[in-house]
Amino acid sequence: MVTGVLPLALEDATKTIQAFLITGKEYVCLMTLHGDVDSKQLLRTLEEFVDDIYQKPPVRAAVKREVRKRRIYSIKDIEVDGRQVLFRVSCQAGTYIRKLVYDAGEVLQVGAHMRELRRVRAGSFTEDTISTLYDVLKLSQSSGADREELARRIIVPMEAAFRHISKIYIRDSAVSAVCHGADLAVPGVVRLTEGIRQNSAVALFTLKGELVALSKALMSTEQVLEAEKGLAAKTLRVVMPPEVYPRMWKTKERALMLT
């Protein structure tokens, strides 16, 4: 009943999963009304949900059942056929569509349930680049050039998930330090996305476009551009193995060796 875009991370890329969990989602939903509703009233009611909404996770949910606020960005392409209502909804991560449908049914006073749901987008992943389990099966049974071709088509670099996430591109000389867990200092910054605020999630990238780590910004874009020193981002999760770029930072021992 529930199908569609499910981004899977393989091996070391598993460390990037937090990045998908925070990205917005888009669904196509089939709702069944439990009574007849005037279509104008239905459209008006659905329209009302395009806002910040408050949801309590369903009884079966594994998260703490606390009311939480989620943003519905849009509900569009609404089609009505009797008591069947089809629509496309785009929302913040962690929105329960089943709950949204139930709540709309309550507002309409006839009740409703979610009959079918298909996720058509998760962050930068859409149905255009989707692969099936059958593709994965074919990949697992292939070898040689076939395997290479299939793997390149079905699997994408983990960096693809970061198209819409704030980024800081860092110097080669800063990469190894970050890979060893150091926070990013201002002199290591080469360029960065506009609109980064303190405490917002940022991904650190090399100048070759490789993902290094997931971090928390300690300065806004403007502050980083103005500053000459200080820490720009706190390293939360290192993804790149530490041996890819050479160590460039000074340690006591190395300083002694050089003198």
């Binding site: 529930v2 199908t3 569609g4 875009v5 499910l6 981004p7 899977l8 991370a9 393989l10 091996e11 890329a13 990037t16 937090q18 969990l21 990205t23 917005g24 989602k25 594994a62 998260v63 606020k69 943003r71 960005y73 913040q92 991560a93 962690g94 329960y96 089943r98 749901l117 998760a122 962050g123 680049t129 989707i130 692969s131 099936t132 389990l133 994965v136 990949l139 697992s140 793997a151 390149r152 670099p157 819409h164 996430i165 591109y169 080669d172 910054v189 080469v190 360029r191 996305t193 506009e194 917002s200 999630a201 090399t206 100048l207 070759k208 476009g209 490789e210 551009l225 939360l236 770029y245």
Partner: protein, 94 residues
């Protein structure tokens, strides 16, 4: 909270300093060897109806003989718990 989803917003980049990268280290993500491509790869999978997201991950893991795999964003309530609890305040939806 933003009024539009992240994919509908275009955000420019600001340059702090002109700098080049040494080609002797690392490589462009699309130039990785096949092993590395898998190791740092993602699959945009079409989840079929029936099995849970968790089961689907387990299948892919077994089929491709992976040590680790994980999915981003459960379809259907199940194992949100671990993920959501980890999400610190610094990772709000963009």
């Amino acid at each position: 909270m933003s009024q539009t989803p992240s994919w509908e917003r275009t955000r420019k980049e600001q340059v702090k300093i002109e700098e080049e990268t040494d080609p002797s280290y690392g490589c462009l993500p699309e130039k990785r060897t096949l092993d590395q491509h898998i190791r740092f790869g993602l699959i945009n999978l079409d989840k079929p109806s029936g099995p849970s997201s968790h089961e689907v991950v387990a299948w892919v893991k077994r089929l491709l003989r992976l040590k680790h795999a994980g999915h981003g964003g459960t379809l259907e309530a199940e194992t949100w718990a671990g993920a959501i609890q980890w999400l610190p305040a610094c990772y709000p939806s963009p």
